[in-house]
């Protein structure tokens, strides 16, 4: 944010801040060790406020839980902003000296009265006001979020609605104050930093900037397309139109992990050529023309990954990969050679040293220093630089260093998939502690809870649809139907239900989800699917719920 693609704080600041607003994240289960830092903070007196449609295990540790309606986060944030303005709790000096676009923001939040917000979000107005007041007046405060914010059709706007709050109160750019997207995989951050985004080159540098491109073209002796490429959703649209006919998938299982799986399966089957590089024959790999067996990156190869606090750390080879599995780097180099570009990197460190040449953020991070310091947080521009604990300290320089941070006015829009008589419940998705994503890694250890998908349902709705705890139920959306076991409890509000994506072989939840996506990020609205739930009579077998979803 504000030109840098990473969380602004470090974990240790969570232990010393005064308030943590955990928004759309169940960090207790999804980022357990980070949550321990938050709990240390709580033990030292920080307030923890959780905003989530579910009363999650994180909410159980919170001083306050705001039960926001799914997808109403912008209305909630804007109402907080308006209340902070009305009460004069904004940081006027910071807004005046370090930001721009404030007047537009003030106008944008004007309609978001507490009354309106209560009606839209379901959060009682007193709780909105109290939260706004505490956030604005805390000496230091952090907002941390995950996919509850970003898996919406208006994901980017929802993030903006949070960054606006930080700008309004000056809660960014200082020790213990900031904005932190908690990354869901061990190298989500690093993948983006390395340019695995359609609009970025290595070092999060803009591919549409001619100067940046010229530098890379010199280093790589090639021509780089001058326009940003397609993000995931745009790639699917291009596949739909026949513009994209061949695909090379590395370490991902999109036919299980992407929304509206029926469509994804069709698009994958229509591809002229599919290559999948993975450690297992995943559902996606089963569709491939060529499967390249890969080594497990984190324990069978050398390299680096980058964490949610922007810390680059070394992964090391502990095992010889089995059979013919090969290191990703080896595979890519062999492939490049056969495509007429003989790359010659003797090892992962050589690749890393090229990253350091091309990315100012990483320049000072030699393997030796990464080893000595136990990882380094970017930016680290030179070998005598220790790395940055927190970002955007520049906003507190007077006059402010570099560009001002812009307010980005946003407006509430309900989720795309509408709840109606036929689909009266809203299904939201997330993770559970013991499992991970499509279960490729976690299906194979002996968890103390069964490897089984549950539909978490409020007792009122269970009663209404004749479902008892433990019943098998059929969950239907406008796009498909799956079976799961009912788990009846009031951690979800009436009208809301919850599932994960962890057990796609038995319960392919993504046959339900909607592929309406954010136009800027390309992320689908996994968090809001209108569904209907019905009991499954004993002994009945549903064809739709079996492997591959459909014959």
């Amino acid at each position: 944010m504000f030109g840098a693609g990473g969380g602004t704080n470090s974990y240790r600041e969570m232990e010393e801040t005064d308030l943590i607003l955990l928004w759309g994240s169940n960090a207790r289960e999804t980022h357990p060790v980070m949550f321990l830092h938050m709990l240390k903070g709580v033990r030292r007196g920080a307030r923890l406020i959780v905003v989530d449609p579910r009363r999650t295990s994180s909410a159980a540790f919170a001083h306050r839980w705001l039960p926001v309606r799914v997808g109403a986060d912008i209305a909630l944030a804007n109402a907080m902003g308006r209340y902070i303005l009305r009460e004069g709790l904004l940081n006027e000096e910071f807004v005046r000296e370090a930001t721009e676009g404030f007047e537009r923001y003030r106008e944008a939040v004007e309609p978001y009265t507490l009354e309106y917000a209560e009606a839209v979000t379901g959060v009682p107005r007193e709780l909105i006001a109290a939260t706004a007041r505490e956030y604005a007046t805390a000496p230091r405060a952090m907002i941390c979020w995950t996919l509850g914010i970003t898996e919406h059709h208006n994901a980017v706007d929802t993030v903006f609605s949070l960054t606006n709050l930080a700008l309004l109160t000056g809660h960014v750019g200082r020790y213990g104050s900031g904005l932190n997207p908690l990354r869901g995989q061990n190298n989500v951050q690093g993948g983006g930093d390395m340019g695995a985004l359609p609009n970025r080159l290595v070092g999060f540098q803009d591919v549409e900037d001619p100067e940046v491109r010229a530098r890379f073209e010199r280093a790589w002796d090639c021509t780089i397309p001058p326009k940003a490429g397609w993000h995931l959703t745009a790639m699917y649209d291009a596949m739909e139109k026949g513009l994209l006919r061949g695909l090379y998938v590395i370490g991902e299982n999109p036919v299980r992990s992407d929304a509206n799986a029926t469509r994804i399966l069709r698009l994958f089957r229509e591809l002229e050529f599919l290559v999948v590089q993975d450690i297992f024959l995943t559902a996606t790999a089963e569709l491939a023309d060529v499967v390249l067996p890969a080594a497990a990156a984190w324990c069978e190869s050398e390299g680096t990954v980058t964490s949610s606090e922007r810390r680059v750390q070394r992964v090391r080879k502990a095992l010889e990969p089995p059979g013919e599995a090969r290191d990703d780097l080896w595979i890519l180099q062999e492939l490049a050679g056969r495509l007429g570009r003989p790359w010659d990197y003797p090892d992962a460190e050589a690749v890393w040293n090229e990253v350091r040449e091309l990315s100012p953020l990483h320049r000072g991070m030699s393997y030796r220093r990464l080893e000595e310091l136990g990882g380094i947080q970017w930016p680290c521009p030179s070998e005598d630089h220790p790395g940055e604990l927190f970002l955007h300290g520049r906003l507190w320089k007077r006059p402010v260093e570099g560009p001002r941070a812009p307010f980005m006015p946003t407006h509430y829009e309900p989720p795309v998939d509408e709840v109606n008589e036929d689909y009266p419940l809203l299904l939201t998705t997330g993770r559970r502690l013991y499992f991970f994503n499509t279960g490729v890694q976690t299906a194979l250890y002996r968890t103390p809870v069964p490897q089984e998908e549950y539909l978490v349902l409020h007792p009122r709705d269970a009663g209404r649809y004749g479902i008892a705890h433990g019943d098998r139920v059929r969950v239907c959306s406008r796009r498909g139907a799956v079976e799961a076991t009912a788990w009846v409890e009031s951690t979800v509000l009436p009208g809301l239900c919850f599932m994960t994506l962890h057990f796609p072989e038995k319960t392919p939840t993504n046959f339900l989800t909607v592929d309406a996506a954010d136009p800027k990020s390309g992320t689908a609205e996994f968090k809001a699917t209108a569904v209907r739930v019905e009991p499954v009579p004993r002994g009945r077998v549903l064809v739709e719920a079996t492997r591959e979803g459909a014959p």
């Binding site: 321990l36 033990r43 020790y175 061990n186 324990c299 606090e309 502990a318 299906a443």
Partner: protein, 303 residues
């Protein structure tokens, strides 16, 4: 920015040697600052000291009783003696009482101290045999870690790691009194029916293998656990984006255990269930693949 506060120093004397340490340091810290050491068992570098085991006792001039070094704060002018005959006798007794009541054969620290102080636990044999603590079968009620209470020295490290100092699950505590005291998740429940979330942080701090990963437990039984042949490689956890450092303990090209380095400020040695136990997929489809799943028991995501 972080501010380094100036903490006043206090001066004390350890075995006749002057030492200056920050105010509110413990005697243990002062002793180590003086380049000396005392034995510890219940003390753990990343947990708060509780002075339970009494093996770290020292003599403090003017104090009637021996003083636990791990928990007592240094005072200006204190004179500490770390290795007097009285201290040695007390430490020998502590070791003997532990060895006389539980199996310390897999507790390297206890065994080292036993040798150092000439412990003769057989002196206590007649008393120990009457105790109700004798001979529990190891509790194997899940596939991730085993509780072998016959090895437990009641150092409380696991209870502290499970509680508010680290994990905040509060799944275990000491139940019973005297010789019946034991670590328990309540009502002798199996762990999968308790509040346990299987992070294994209790296992990580156990000094005696009373809590032990099931792989290690089984390999020991099979006689294949050979620590001397294991390499430890530090890498990063393959799951979420926190970036926990993992120590992979590797024997014969197989991961046999995962721990976290104590000195890593991100984990301080503590992990979650996926990081500590979720690595078996790496060996999927090979001969020693544990495979399969456990029986249903606890609700989803219940902490």
């Amino acid at each position: 920015m972080t501010r380094k506060l100036q903490v006043p120093l206090v001066t004390a004397e350890v075995d006749g040697q002057r030492v200056q340490v920050p105010e509110a340091s413990t005697l243990l810290e002062a002793i180590r600052a003086a380049g000396k050491d005392v034995p510890t068992l219940c003390y753990h570098p990343v947990l708060e000291p509780i002075g339970a085991c009494r093996i770290c006792v020292v003599e403090v001039e003017g104090s009637r009783t021996l003083v636990p070094a791990c928990i007592r704060r240094v005072e200006a002018g204190m004179r500490v003696r770390t290795d007097t005959p009285r201290v040695q006798l007390s430490r020998r007794m502590v070791v003997e009482l532990l060895q006389g009541s539980v199996d310390t054969s897999l507790a390297p620290d206890v065994r080292r101290y036993a040798a150092e102080y000439g412990a003769r636990p057989e002196r206590w044999e007649p008393f120990a045999q009457e105790g109700p603590r004798a001979k529990h079968a190891p509790k194997v009620d899940n596939d991730l870690y085993v509780r072998d209470l016959d090895r437990c020295i009641l150092c409380y490290r696991c209870v502290r790691a499970c509680g508010e100092e680290v994990q905040n699950s509060f799944a275990i505590a000491v139940a019973g009194r005297g010789l019946a005291a034991r670590i328990d998740p309540g009502f002798d429940l199996p762990l999968p029916d308790s509040a346990c979330v299987f992070c294994g942080n209790c296992v990580a701090v156990c000094p005696t293998e009373a809590l032990v990963p099931k792989t290690q437990f089984e390999m020991r039984r099979a006689g294949t656990w050979e620590e001397g042949r294991q390499q430890v490689v530090t890498t990063i956890c393959p799951y979420c984006g926190v970036g926990c450092k993992l120590n992979l303990h590797v024997q014969d090209n197989r991961i046999v255990k995962v721990t976290a380095p104590l000195e890593d400020p991100i984990t301080r040695g503590f992990l979650c269930v996926k990081g500590r136990f979720g690595w078996t997929y790496v060996h999927a489809g090979t001969a020693a693949d544990p495979g399969g799943g456990a029986e249903p028991s606890t609700p989803p995501g219940n902490l």
